[in-house]
């Protein structure tokens, strides 16, 4: 009997006189009455359910309602990452990597009864490109799409790109029924769908819940004991999410406080699934503003970062050391990257060398309001820097405001920009281009890093990644080491992917390429 139970029984006996004995339990479990309903306590809402423009948490719903041509299966232990066929059964590329041909699966029907055809694939992707919202840019290399026969689609590219990987993207790569080509954003966000996936949207109450129902005619297999219904309950408060999963009102959730995971692990009704994610946390140094325009000063700051403390305090030890910006599990990850370790003495020496010992430097770090991991990292780093005579001001900001500040004038912007990155589709280029490629008006290169050698190296690697992936990987790793050597950023940690679910749920596989998506069709009870 733990302390909470003691308090509980004390309170109960105190109130025994006034409270009827047959206490109705509000935590009465949906999950435990053998129901075929899978309930997700979802800590984020779904801003956009249009498969062409969705670029956020909506993937959690869309990935069960829509399908793409391929799906990325992450590498595990020694097994390399692969691409699994979904709507496409096979694909090939020309030797120059400029023409890609996909064979489509036969007998697939959309929820509205239409058949999957090459025209449907062509039309879906063309709609996405036409609207040009969200992650539509993933198709920018595509110059033409043709449908030589009902089950064959041919893409022509302007430059060699790994289109099979792009087609596995969690955003902007969904195939929809031709009936939806002329529908607007509002039609989808009213809760309508045009997918071919194992579930369809039965009811959508924006900001509150989405109810998904199994589609009987789904082409793929279904495990025994699979769920008929999935209820995404949008509860944006981690405290309530935790209560729901503990009380049996939810089968799955994420985003709970790391500090509480030990208690959850000890609960036999729950299982805590920890996996590496593709999300990595880093702080970009403002390379255009004194004193961080000097690489040695940046290096000193990186040496002062308390890597292990942040992992243990911020993630209860579940995160892992970042080896550069490419997280483990993704090709291009560099397990031997020469990243700095915490060493205050060395940092002090470097600062002295730069003439900045006891200089009372004042730096500003911006991060997203209400992100406790970023706040924790900031607070711990601040304490270390204080020992070097550096004052770090922690400035939590709304993401848009933080971004706006960073995009304005680098000379007036923050000194350190803290953010996460995750890939739109699984390629190292996505990280390396967006974050460190030279840009006139930077979108995400918010440390304003600029290195022509680096630019060329990753551009060349990208061109090779459709045809000669091992070679491309080597080049990406080399490029990443340039960034590390220049100390363009401090790589704080790789975030763990932690999901909590009821332990009677079977078949769960975490797929970091798709954020916090649950592939509901794989689950059973």
């Amino acid at each position: 009997m733990n302390r909470r139970d003691v308090l509980k029984s004390a309170a109960l006996s105190a109130l025994a006189a006034s409270v009827p004995l047959a206490v109705p339990r509000w935590s009465m479990a949906l999950a435990q009455d053998g129901s075929r309903i899978f309930t997700l306590a979802h800590p984020a809402g779904f801003p956009d359910l249009d498969p062409a423009t969705s670029f956020s948490n909506d993937g959690a719903v869309l990935a069960n309602v829509y399908e793409g041509l391929t799906r990325y299966i992450p590498g595990k232990d020694d097994a390399p990452a692969t691409l699994a066929p979904v709507l496409a059964t096979g694909w090939e590329t020309s030797a120059d990597g400029l023409t890609w041909t996909f064979k489509l699966r036969e007998g697939v029907k959309f929820h509205d009864g239409a058949d999957l055809t090459a025209e449907a694939v062509k039309g879906s992707i063309e709609r996405t490109i036409r609207i040009a919202g969200g992650a539509a840019f993933i198709w920018s290399p595509v110059t033409a799409i043709t449908a030589p026969d009902p089950l064959t689609v041919v893409f022509t590219l302007s430059s060699p790109q790994p289109l099979d990987v792009i087609a596995a993207s969690g955003f902007a790569a969904w195939i929809m029924s031709p009936a939806a080509f002329d529908k607007d954003n509002a039609w989808f966000n009213a809760g309508n769908d045009a997918g071919s996936g194992p579930f369809k949207i039965e009811r959508y109450e924006p900001g509150q819940r989405a109810i998904l129902k199994r589609v009987a005619e789904y082409w793929g297999g279904t495990p025994d004991g699979a769920f008929d219904t999935a209820a995404f309950e949008i509860v944006e408060d981690a405290v309530l999410d935790q209560n729901m999963i503990e009380g049996g009102q939810a089968d799955w959730t994420y985003g709970l406080a790391y500090e509480n995971l030990d208690a959850l692990k000890a609960n036999p009704d729950l299982s805590v699934v920890v996996n590496p994610s593709f999300e990595t946390l880093f702080g970009m140094y403002n390379t255009k503003k004194a004193p961080l325009d000097r690489p040695k000063v940046r290096q000193a700051l990186s040496l002062a970062f308390p890597y292990d403390d942040v992992i243990s305090a911020g993630t209860s030890g579940l995160g892992s050391r970042a080896k550069g910006v490419i997280p483990s599990g993704l090709w291009g990850h560099d397990p031997d990257a020469p990243v700095p370790n915490t060493d205050l003495e060395a940092a002090k020496a470097l600062l002295a060398e730069e003439g900045l010992a006891d200089s009372n430097l004042e730096l500003v770090m911006t991060y997203a309001t209400s992100d406790t991991l970023e706040a924790t990292a900031g607070e711990l780093w601040k304490a270390n820097l204080a020992q070097l005579g550096i004052t770090l001001t922690l400035q939590p900001m709304a993401w848009e405001a933080q971004w706006e500040l960073a995009k304005s004038d680098p000379a007036a912007a923050q000194d350190i920009f803290v953010m996460y990155w995750w890939p739109t589709y699984v390629t190292p280029y996505d990280y390396l281009f967006n974050l460190f490629h030279s840009e006139e008006a930077p979108a995400y290169n918010l440390g304003y890093y600029s290195n022509p050698d680096y630019d060329k190296l990753i551009d060349d690697a990208a061109a090779l990644s459709g045809t000669d992936r091992p070679k491309a990987e080597g080049m990406f790793i080399a490029a990443q080491r340039m960034v590390i050597a220049d100390n363009a950023a401090v790589f704080m940690l790789d975030k763990p992917n932690i999901h909590i679910m009821r332990s009677d749920v079977k078949g769960y596989q975490d797929n970091p390429a798709y954020g916090h998506v649950v592939f509901l069709n794989e689950l059973s009870r």
């Binding site: 509000w26 009465m28 309903i37 509002a186 966000n189 739109t424």
Partner: protein, 340 residues
């Protein structure tokens, strides 16, 4: 005549206030250090997407022109779309406003129900232990931080005793498998319309804790005001006259004294309603109540200006209307008010 003039003046003042509030909200929005176009363009937008959004949102028009357009749009109930979700705000409001109003009205009733009888009894039994307990409770409730009180209520009634639900508006069994058809958006009313008594009870059970959180402070104030007013009224000559006429004690207390306390009671209604609307920001987050407070606080975090503006305006409008209604009721109940 005075009545008509008073009413007209009050209505005109309220109209002026609404225009002023609209202006103020617009001004505050200009201070927000964020680019609406970047927000509208979605997560990780490209430069082209942002440029397109600037045009769509017409952000480059001169300020006065934008204000006029903003004010006319608000005036016609066209709140535009959310920059974040790009959903029609009026659609969202149709769902969230009833949820907040249901909570606000219920908590106002609860505050009156708790505060006024205790105040009456405390006044009638001055100095008794009931009076002392009531006064103590009112002092405590006034000093209690709302958010902490909410946590304590959840802890005791939901997590320890398990007799009331922790959060939400309806149990999942109902909201997932067997939802209530949307008629008015007030769950209590919709459940009655649907003829489902179990759902009425369920909705009530979900209302109690958040409403109690919001009712504590106004109930404390109500108790004080009622007590003070009743003590003054009970000493009035017409009450002595009523006693001299042999009327029974309860009839004097409730039939003669209490109607004179309608003025203070109306004040309490206004105060309590305002407090509930305001406290909604805190309470709706803690209780996952899908109402305007939660809506607006999310919008504030993401700097979603049209939502902030619409929600602030609607809440303020409710507040202004409520005050207008209270003032006008005051005249009906006590016609002497209009003369002063």
């Amino acid at each position: 005549m005075e009545l008509v003039r008073y009413t007209l003046r009050r209505v005109l003042l309220s109209a002026f206030v609404v225009v002023g509030v609209t202006f103020l909200v617009f001004v505050v929005a200009q201070v927000v250090p964020s680019d609406p176009a970047a927000l509208y363009a979605g997560p990780r937008p490209t430069a082209e997407q942002i440029a397109k959004a600037r045009v769509t949102l017409d952000l480059d028009a001169p300020l006065p022109q934008r204000f006029v357009r903003f004010a006319t749009a608000m005036g016609t109930g066209d709140f535009g779309v959310s920059y974040k979700s790009r959903r029609l705000i009026s659609q969202d409001l149709a769902v969230y406003l009833p949820a907040t109003l249901e909570l606000a009205i219920f908590s106002t009733l609860l505050a009156l129900l708790l505060g006024i009888p205790t105040g009456v009894i405390a006044a009638a039994r001055r100095g008794s232990w009931l009076d002392r307990m009531g006064s103590l409770g009112s002092v405590l409730s006034v000093a209690m931080p709302t958010f902490f009180f909410a946590m304590l209520l959840q802890l005791v009634f939901s997590q320890w005793l398990g007799i009331l639900p922790l959060s939400g508006r309806l149990s999942q069994q109902i909201s997932i498998s067997d939802p209530l058809p949307f008629v008015t958006g007030f769950n209590l009313i919709d459940a009655v319309i649907a003829g489902r008594p179990a759902v009425v009870l369920d909705a009530l059970a979900h209302l109690i804790l958040p409403a109690l959180t919001l009712a504590a402070y106004p109930a404390g104030i109500a108790m004080r005001l009622t007590r003070a007013a009743m003590i003054e009224i009970l000493a009035r000559r017409h009450i002595i006259a009523a006693r001299a006429l042999g009327l029974s004690a309860p009839r004097i207390l409730f039939g003669h004294a209490l109607p004179n306390a309608v003025g203070p009671a109306l004040t309490v209604i206004g105060l309590s309603f305002a407090y509930a609307l305001t406290g909604a920001v805190l309470v709706e987050i803690i209780f996952a109540w899908p109402g305007l407070g939660r809506y607006v606080s999310e919008a504030i975090l993401s700097k979603d200006f049209p939502v902030i503006a619409a929600a602030t305006l609607v809440v303020t409008l409710c507040y202004v209307l409520m005050n207008l209604v209270i003032d006008l009721t005051q005249i009906i109940v006590d016609p002497r008010v209009a003369l002063t």
